[in-house]
């Protein structure tokens, strides 16, 4: 297999690799928690795209039984299993992202910041104040 053929044949996977690296970049380099959560969502979407693109068969149609095509030959329909799994994963992903944002809202209410180093600094200061109070008492 020539290099170009290999590259073109895997083109969907290169997009997935780019999206996964972008999501991880958002999660580990960015300092804002909302940006970290956006990075996590991009990561999740990349996994979903990978699953969907692995379901494709050349020369196959959508997984809805058609009288003109018949169901005896499994090669004539796209693999339906990945579509099913990712269908539920998308909606569950939205719901869990909602929980993540709810947690961020409570963090912001408590500490008035969503910046990671600043939050660590404030938590440390609060803990020291509490320890000092404990020593005085």
């Amino acid at each position: 297999m020539s290099g170009l053929e290999f590259f073109v044949g895997h083109y969907a996977y290169w997009f997935v690799v780019a999206l996964l690296v972008l999501g991880l970049y958002g999660m580990i380099v960015k300092r804002n928690f909302v940006k970290k959560l956006i990075g996590m969502t991009i990561f999740q979407v990349a996994v979903i795209i990978f699953f969907i693109s692995s379901a494709v068969k050349k020369g196959a149609t959508i997984p809805i039984a058609d009288k003109a095509v018949g169901t005896a030959e499994s090669g004539l329909y796209v693999n339906p299993l990945q579509h099913t799994l990712m269908l539920t994963a998308i909606v569950v992903g939205v719901a869990t992202a909602g929980v993540g944002y709810a947690l961020l809202v409570t963090i912001f209410r408590r500490f008035r910041t969503l910046n990671e180093p600043e939050l660590m600094e404030r938590m440390r200061r609060e803990r020291e104040a509490a320890e000092k109070q404990g020593n005085d008492a």
Partner: protein, 106 residues
């Protein structure tokens, strides 16, 4: 710190590219994933679903049949997860708080 982050990213990208190069071409009908029998010799699930979905449930859309019938327990779990997520949001955010006058806000 910054250098370590980007080194980790490069390592991750290299790992992913190495893994992707072992995959079959996109849309290759002879890939292991699309075979009628698994490498262990047992019949594979997707082919079974394609052949028997209409016979079993009188519903042409195979994705619906797998979602609600063959994998009904899975979908039930997912729906419970969604419900639990909504409940978690409600319990985290929608709480009664006393304002400075001592009245309970809804």
């Amino acid at each position: 710190m910054k250098v370590a982050n980007f080194a980790a990213l490069a390592l991750f990208a290299g790992l992913l590219i190495y893994a992707a190069s072992g995959l079959p071409n996109r849309g290759d009908p002879t890939a292991v994933l699309h075979r009628d029998t698994s490498p262990a010799g047992t019949p594979s699930a997707p082919s079974y679903y394609i052949r028997n979905a209409y016979k079993d449930a009188a519903t042409p859309n195979m994705v619906t049949v797998i979602l609600a019938d063959y994998r009904g327990f899975d979908t039930m779990g997912e729906e419970t997860v969604i419900f639990a997520a909504g409940l978690a949001c409600l319990l985290i955010l929608r709480r009664k708080r006393k304002n400075p006058q001592g009245e309970i806000e809804p």
